[in-house]
Structure formats: C-alpha cells, structure tokens
Symmetry: D2
Subunit: 360 residues, 4 copies
C-alpha cells in the first residue's frame, strides 16, 4: 500500500537554501526529488561533485548521483521548488509556470506581484486561490515570504485576528546562513555585527501587509499597519532573532495572559490538515527569562515552530517580545515545502490527485 510520491524538481540546488531543500525532502512522505538544476557551472555533473555541501547531515543518498541540469532545461516534475537567486528567478519561474509547472519559490521576484500568493500556510491559506487567476494555464507560481518576514507575520497573525495590529516595530539579529555562500566574509563577522542587510528592511515593511491582507475580488488588499524594520547581521549560523514591539488596536487592551494565549493557542490550516511538515504548534511560547535563543530553540518543531519569549509591556507601543525563527527551515526551504504540501492537499499540484494524499 505504498503510495507513489510526487516527483519534484529543485532549482538552485547547490546553494544554501537548495541544500536545505534536499535535506528536508529526504524521506518526505509525499515528495521525491527527481530533478535538480543549477547554474551553468554545475550543469552536467553529478550533484555530489557540483555542490560544496555545508549541512551537518550528509548529502541524501537519493540525490548524490542525480545529474545537475541547467536552469531553463525541460523538467518532468510538475512541482518545482525554486531556490534561485533573484537575478535569474523572475523569467525562469514564469517560463516554467507557462509550461504547466507549479513553481513554489523562495525568490523575491514575484512576491509583491498582485497575481501571486505570498503564502504562509498557517496565516493566509486562502490566498492560494490567486492561482485560479494567474495567466499561466495549468501552471502557476506561489511564493514564500522573506526569511525574516515569515516568523514575524506568523507571530502577528493571531494578534491581528484577536486584537488588530496597528503598528509593528522590529529590530532583527539575523544569522549568516541567510546570506548564503560566500555571503558575508568571516573577516567582517569575527568580533563584529553589521547593522545593514541590503533590501531586508524594505521586504519586511512591504510584505507583512500583503500576507495579513484580505483576498477580495480584485486581489489581496493589504492590511493597514505601519511597519518599521531595522536589520542586523550577527555571527550566528542559523536562526533569525527579533526584538518586536507592537501596537494593538483593540479598544480594551488585552491582558498579558490573553496575548500569550492568543500566541500559544494558535493553530492554522496545516495543523488541521496534519500536513507532513506542519509543526504541532506554529508558535511556541517560552518562559525562560533569556529565551528564545538561536542555538537552543531554532530547531523546535523541526525548525518549523516560531518561538516567542519575554512578552511584556512596551512603554511606547504597548507590547513587546522576542521572536525567533529558523531562517533556512521555516524561513525558506521548510516554509516552501509546507506551501507545496498545502497546494497538494488542496489538489493544486498539476497531475497529482485532487484529494491528495488520500486519493491515490
């Protein structure tokens, strides 16, 4: 009674996020990596020779010998994960959508495209319906938000639903894996912090509203909240930490217990559907006085749970807390896989059964 798994392709397979896709897809119950693509330099080689592997688990056996294709080559897999860099992702993803593939992308290019869902399955699963309005026939594009935005928007969702969020002030301390390889030189990161990440603050400020927005006839209407983001790079491998202050709109301000309950009790569609990559608790509230911390808590829920700690009043905006999310799992590859699982479960993967996984 073994069900056939859906074959998937991974674009940009040699990069840091591409490697994480392969690690997370090893032994996935629904998906099986059947094709890899990367830049010209890697094309033609078996994967194990093309990649400079940086993960702490070995290269999954099933992909070690897969030949690396060129981005742009024909692909058989109907489901394609894109970890392409933004300088090539835009047209490459549209072309694949046009050829009938469902592309789940971690690249920034189509995130703010009004036709494309900017998806966090727990937050705005209904945005997937935008796929019906895309111009690419049976194919389509779904995007994953920026690695910092995902954790922030996920933590905001229950607060926004319960109390309304009027303003969000966030200062991030981001891990170096977010910059890939070579990314940030170690000469710049030893005994140092860099208070700037190109384009990052704008992404957080722009994407949050769309994610929390309402799907309407004419598209997604962005939520109206003011966002101020300041981003720092710190010498941490994985895990973006954020010092967050929020202003709630509820006329009767909630109690600390109510805010905490809203966060820790939150469940979304992936939890209802019991999607394979869904963590039991999307938001884990910690009570240690110095929690969460990147090294200790980034792997909670297999790296898919967001951790929140130190909830307390903010003298300026009302509430503040510390937020942590794993930037290459929940914030990139894992988040995209969860998007694909939701798409599969809703019958939106071309060629796969409508009522996956039961209908097989």
């Amino acid at each position: 009674m073994t069900r056939r798994r859906i074959p998937v392709a991974v674009l940009g397979a040699t990069g840091v996020v591409g490697q994480r896709f392969l690690s997370l897809l090893e032994g996935h119950p629904w998906f099986r990596v059947s094709e890899l693509a990367a830049s010209e330099r890697s094309a033609g080689k078996p994967y194990r020779e093309a990649v400079r592997w940086l993960q702490s688990t070995p290269i999954p056996e099933e992909v070690q010998g897969l030949p690396v294709k060129r981005v742009g080559d024909d692909l058989d897999a109907s489901l394609v994960f894109s970890a392409l860099s933004s300088d090539v992702a835009g047209p490459a993803e549209e072309e694949l959508a046009g050829r009938g593939h469902l592309v789940v992308s971690n690249a920034k290019n189509h995130r703010m495209d009004p036709r494309v869902p900017l998806l966090i399955p727990e937050v705005n699963p209904e945005h997937l319906e935008l796929l019906d309005r895309q111009p690419w026939g049976s194919g389509g594009i779904v995007t994953n938000p920026n690695c910092s935005t995902i954790g922030i928007a996920l933590a905001l969702k229950p607060l926004h639903d319960a109390f309304g969020v009027g303003a969000l002030h966030v200062v991030t301390l981001q891990a170096v894996s977010g910059a890939g390889v070579p990314g940030v030189s170690s000469m710049e990161m030893v005994d140092n912090v860099i208070p700037f990440i190109s384009g990052e603050e704008e992404k957080i400020e722009h994407e949050t509203g769309k994610i929390l927005g309402v799907l309407q006839a004419e598209g997604v209407t962005a939520a109206q909240l003011r966002v101020s983001a300041q981003c720092n790079r710190v010498p941490v491998l994985d895990g973006h930490l954020a010092s967050v202050s929020v202003q709630l709109e509820a006329t009767r301000g909630p109690s600390e217990a109510e805010v905490m309950e809203a966060l820790s009790g939150f469940r979304g569609r992936p939890q209802e559907l019991e999607l394979p990559t869904a963590p039991r608790s999307p938001i884990v509230v910690l009570d240690g006085e110095a929690d969460p911390q990147p090294r200790r808590h980034r792997d909670l829920g297999g790296g898919m749970s967001v951790s929140v700690g130190r909830l307390r009043p903010c003298p300026i905006l009302g509430w503040r807390f510390v937020l942590l999310s794993h930037n290459t799992v929940r914030g990139a590859a894992g988040g995209a896989i969860l998007c694909a699982e939701l798409a599969a479960a809703e019958g939106r993967v071309p060629g796969a059964p409508d009522s996956w996984p039961s209908g097989s």
Copy 2:
C-alpha cells in the same frame, strides 16, 4: 616645568573595567595611579600577580608592582575611581566620600540617588553642582551612567536641545566585555545571541531622563520622555551597538540635514575646556551604508566618540539610526575619567588647585 600629577586610587582594579581604567590612565597628563584596591582575595599581592590581565596592551609598568589594598583600607589619594561591583560599592563609596575623597564611580548604586550627579560631561556638566549639596563634607560622589545609556544619552542630547525628544525606542546588541569575567560563558555565546541582560533595560529606561533633566533648586527634574529598551548580548568583544528610533516634538519636523548637523556639530564643555580625554567630536556621523560596526568604529576618538550612521525616517516614530559606543571606554572607564577631568578643571578635586590644570 613639569606639573605634579594628581594621585588617584582605583577600586576594583582587577576586574575588566578596573583593567581598562589602568590602561587609559597610563601616561595620563593630569592623573597618576598611586593606589589600587580589590577584594580580599587579591589583597596584599603586587598587582601583576593579583590580576588576570585581559587587555591587548601589556599591564602599565607603573602599576605592575603596586600592592593591592583591601577595599575599605585607608587611601591617600583624594580622587578615587570606583569600578567596584554593585554588591559592595554602595557603602564603600559613601564611606570614602565621608572621609573626604571625591569618588567617581562606575557602579550603579548611587546613580539614581537624587543627591548624586549622573554625569556625562558633554551632556549635563552643570549637574556637578549637586556636589555642593551632598552631605559628605569636602568629599563627594559622582556617577557614570550605565554603559549603554551613556552612548544613547549623548546622541540624544543635541536632538533634545534642538527639537525635543518625546519617545525613544532602543534595541541594543551588547558586547560581552560588559559582563566582565567570567561573565557570559563561551558555551552560551558560540553560535548564539542572548536576548536578555539582567537589569539593563530598566537602567536605560530610568537613567536617560535624569541625565537629560534640568538642575533646579530641589534637585534634578527628569526629562519627560518615554523610553523603551530591549537588550541583547552578542558575540562581540567591545562596543555596544543600538538600533534607535526617536520621536521628535518640534512642530515643524527637522530635515535629515538638520538632524545630521545637530548630531555631528555637537560640542560640549569637555571640548571647550579641551579636557585630556575629550574627543574632538563627541558624535561622529558616518556615511557608509553599513556603518557603524563594533570592530571597525569602536575606537574612534580613542573610544570616546559615539558613532552614528544610517540616519533615516522611521515609519512609526519619525527618525531612526544606528548608534555605537565603546562600552568599556566611553561607557565605563573613559567616561569616568572624563568626569574626573571635568571635576578637576572646575576645582572640585579636594586638595588639587582650584584652577587646574593652569594653577600649579
């Protein structure tokens, strides 16, 4: 025509801040270290044997052989720098003041004491007059603010004078030297960030108003501004970085050029008096897109200048910028030495000439 230097004692001389005092006082034109004191464990030993020296310059020759006294022993020096830990600093400092010493303290104990100036020489030099109202006769106590607060209050001063500061939202990324030794275990700091520093947020939130406050007949009236501080420990040796947002009260909001000019043009009493430790520019405005950075800019102005970069509008509070100050120089030992220089220049060091340094 060599003038005699004022002999000074350093309490807590073996700790991280104590070591920094000795490094900075090496070759000081006005002060000469003549006595050292530390805990029972060190008492009686020559300094070089009592200390576990951690600075990157050698132990100054003039103190290597000085015998370490007990805290509480009689001291000859009329000027005393205190780098004592807060569990012993309170009564020890009062006792010394009562015996006629001027104590310039880096400890927190008397900072919020209404009789004691919380002094940043560029910001509130007039608060020194509180010395006249202290109950300790010819002795007295002057305190240095918290290491993070100093940089913040210094950068706020010209903005407060020119435009009024109504609210300050600050998230810090603080160096490990602020915790001393053993301080933060390396097991907690490798591949990690700790989003909590005990008591630090409260200090920033409480001290800032007093520093920017107005000296009146009944004491210092604190400035009315709302302050929200969130503090993180990062794997950096020296230099506290802060992501700062401020709300200005001026009805006509200033332009970016006006804010920048207020910051970079700021000069205070130490610059007028050309005190030995005063940097030419208390606030250095940098124009690199990723500046300031701890390792690259903490030593500007000999560690006494505060660096500001990335000035830009904040969608919530109005303005935001990145701030850096050297936590053990400007934020501790260097700041305290500058306080003492101001006191000396104003004839407030017992036994030293009134019009130091000219009157000798």
Copy 3:
C-alpha cells in the same frame, strides 16, 4: 513483550556532561533514568528547576520532574553514571562501588587506578575483566577516558594492531563544551584561541598507553609508545579536532590504501554485539580535502563515530591525518553509555540478567 529497562542514576546531572547523559538516555532501549543527583545547591528541587539547560533539544520529559538528590544519598539504581567533577568524584564513586553499584564514570579520578578499566568498548573490551579483581564486592568502577584521548585511541587502535604505533604527536583544537559552564569566559574566546588546557596534555600522554595496553595477570601493561600532546581551546561549541602524526613500527611501511583500509574497516565488540549506542562504523574516513570539520561532521554516527581525513605522509613521523570526535558524546556521555551497554551485555550490571538483553 516489552522488556523492563534497567534503572540508572546520573550523578552530576546538572552539568554539561550530565545534561548530555540525559539527552542521550532519552528513549534508550535498555536504560531508564530513575534517579538524579547533584550538588547541595540543587538538592531537593525538581530537575527542571535545578538545571540551567543548555542543550538544543528540550529537557526530556521523563526527568523534568525528578527530584535532585544529594551526591552521597542512597540510590536504588544498581547502575550509576558519574559526571561528577573531579574534586568530589573520587571518594563518592568508591563509596557507591562499595555499596554494590556499578559506577561508570566520566571523571578522571580512577582512570589511572591499576584496578580500574579505562574503557573504550571498541578498543579494549577485555579490560572489563579488571572488575573481577576490584575490592568492592558486587559493585565496581569503570572509567571513560579523557574526551580527547578517546577519539585518538580509537583511531590508533587498528593502526596499532596492524602496524604497531611507536610515536604519536597530536595537537588538539578543542571545543568549549569540554570546559563546562561557566568554563571559558566568552571574553577570552571572542576573536581568540587559548593554547593551554589545564591537565589535558598529561591525560592524553598518560591514558593512551593504558588503553592500548595488554591485560595480564598482574594488571594492564601499558603499550610502549611515545606521546606528545599540545592542546588548544578554540571557539567551537562541540567537537575536538586534532592534527595527528604517527610513527608506525612495521618494518615494511604500509601503503596509504592499507592505512586507510585499516581505519575504515575497523569494527569492535560493540559492533559485533550491536549495542544500542554503537555506531555502524567507529571510524569514518572522509575524502573531502578540508574534512573533517567540527560543525559538519561531529554528529556522524550519532556523535559516536570518529572522523578521519587528509591522510598523507608526514616528513618526520611517517603519517599524518586530521581527526575529529564529538567531545560530549563519544568523548563523554555517549562513550560512558556504550561502556555500560557492554557491561550489561556481558552480565556485569548487578541485579540485571546475565545475558542481557536476551535473557529477560
């Protein structure tokens, strides 16, 4: 048909190695943690309140509420793991042995005691027979070598068996977890390396000969090899790396392929017995030009495999290579658990069936 697991006690349960014991024993098929003991300060509290947990996985549920006993209190468990510090381990372990417990210790106190096996189950399983000559009746003491020595001796074993090792020159780059908490201050470890670890070089130089020695009527006769060890502390969390040079005694020097085959083909008693914690390959030979690396390879074989790379001729001693082992898994808690598994399988755990695990 679920077999009852052997109850075990963990002494020194709040320290870094103690925490690792609890993590590794979570869900262990043979052993169940039933008692914890630590210093006076922790005694009486439930474990979750007594410990400052530093692992990246949560505290195992089964021990969270266990009350922490005092070291010296009576214990019910016949098998006791000791992660005590060496200033208290000596008499405490002897007392427990005298009361009939089998103590498997990570402390250094009894390692060089001629009555006590210094055990690496793959290397010298026959040394367990020393238990029969111990003076403690049904109880006894087994020790785990020093964290650096374990990996080195394990890699030497097949070379010694096949070719004879005459000299070993080793320079280590050791992780900070080896020093525990507070251990090495982060102020000493940021942008730094410390070329000294108290007592470590002596341990490597003394223990290696005993481990590779021959059990004879009068005790273990140490192997005759000259050992030179130089130890450095580096800013790495887990994983001791070593640059190793060895001189082989075989008159016909082996080829590189023969050396490699001896290393990678090595299997020991734990592999034959398929002990639960035994890695499939005790020594993994890597072929990457810059392997092994602590962060990437320390978890191979669940942290129980030693990694070897860069095997090449040494102009002075003959052969050299790079060696990595996980210092708190194979080098401490995991190594000790494997010792206990061997003891259990050989019917040497008091009160447990002779032919564990089959005989139950």
Copy 4:
C-alpha cells in the same frame, strides 16, 4: 631639516594586505605613499571610493583621494610594494623590475626563484646581495615569506644558529584575515574550524629551508631540516598561532634556560640599524601559562614581534612551544616594509641616497 621621504607605490592596494600597507605607511618617517594600483574594476576611482575598507583605523587622509591606477600602468615611484594576488603578480612584478623599480613583494610567485631573496631582515639580511645577480638592471625583486613561515623562521633562527635545527613539526591555527575578502565565508567559520588551507603546508615546508639557507657563490643553499606542517583555519581575525616541536642537533642538549635565552636575547640587523619598523625584541618570550594568545599578544612590538610561550620538553622531538605572529603585520605588510627599510638603509633603493637615511 625635514628630509624628503621616498615616494612608494602600493600594488593591490584595495585588498586586505594592501589596506594594511597603507595603514602601516601612514606617517612613516622614510616612505610616503604616492601611487596606488589595483585591478581594472577599481582603476580611475579615488581610493576611498574604490576600497571596501576593513581596518579598525580610518583610511589615512593622504591616500583617500589618490586615484587608483591599473596594475601595469607606468609608475613614478622607484620603490614598489606588491600585495598583488598570485595570479597576476608574477609577470607584473618582473615587468616593473625590468623598468628599474625595486619591487618588495608579498606574493608567492618569486619566493622560490633562486635569483630572488626570500627575506626576513632579522634572519637572512645577507640574502639581499642576490639583488646584484638579478637580470633586471637597476630594478629588482625582493620577496617576503608566507605569513606563517615568517614567524616560524624568525623563532627558529636563533635556535638554528646556537644548536642546529634538524626537524620542525608545526601545526598552525591561522586567522581569517590571511584569506582576504571574501576569503572564508562566515557560514563556514561560525562554530567551526577548517583543517586545510590550500598550498599553505607546502609553503611552510619549502620556504623555511631557503630562509635559513647559506648564501654562496651559486646562490642560496637551503638549510637541511625536515619540516612537517599542518594548517588549520580558526575564527580569529588576526594572528597566526602555532604549536611547534623542534629537534635540535647539538650533541649536548641545551637547558631550558639556554633555549629561552637564545630566543629572548635574539637581535638582528634591523635592531642594530634601528630601522623604523623594527621591534626592539624580534622574539618576545612570555611566561603566562596560557600565552601567547592571538587577541592579547598579536600587537606586541607594533605587530612586528613574534611571541613565544610554553617552552617545554617534547617527548618525541625534544622541545616544543607555542608561537604567535601577526599575519598581516609581521607576516605581510609590516614584514615587507621592514625589507624595504633594510634595502633603503643599504643603499639598494634606486634613486635614493646610498647611505639612507643619514645621507640627505
């Protein structure tokens, strides 16, 4: 009576070593930076716009506005420092020598060229005479050894002179600045050590013999010593540490005091000539049990002194110790500047007075 300084050009001025040249030459009493050259990408821009400055002191004012030339452009300065990468240094340096410039190079290309001195001014100043036999007319090439080799050879020199060195076993822990920018990615360096540096071990093994060699009619005859080098990259900014074992040939082995005296008492030609960059003590012997350490001791002697500590017997080779040298000062730019100072003092800089600095 201000003497005119010798104008110098710096090639590869935007790289890490190039930046260090400019910092060290700021305010140099003999040399004045008058020209800069770098790759095509930087050509034509003022230096401050071409460089991504990484030093912790600001860009020297005198070079901020200097236009960056192309490597290969005509230069006016008769003395040229080359910090070019090895893929372009070879022909570029020969061409300049052929045009009459004295090139002092940090690149590896000509180091083992029998016509070219591989110079450490304290060690083999007489090798400068090779300049007389070079085929480039009034121009010539002098090279600086590899950054690790310099410190090692410098420490060996007095031991070789006094006792003869038969074998050298060295394991390095090297700083990331040695790899330049981008160099080692921070993703590879957080919580990690890399036991491989391309080409480094060969350089140490080959260069040491030439440096310690004897200048004879037919060229330099390399010293006969066996060298084994194993190189590791560690997360340290500056300062290469080495665990060194040496075998001395003296039939009567020296005492520890004699070895120590040979090291600490060593002085060379730069000290006799009082060259501006010469440290008072080329080798500083430290007595701290955990010294030297990169962050604390790399700046001794302005970064030009090599530190030695932990001298003790080695059970295999006889003696062992810990060695530290600043890789971008003594090991690169500072070392090259000292070479140029020696050349100037010996009248070997074309166009400069023969008896510099007195003859002006």
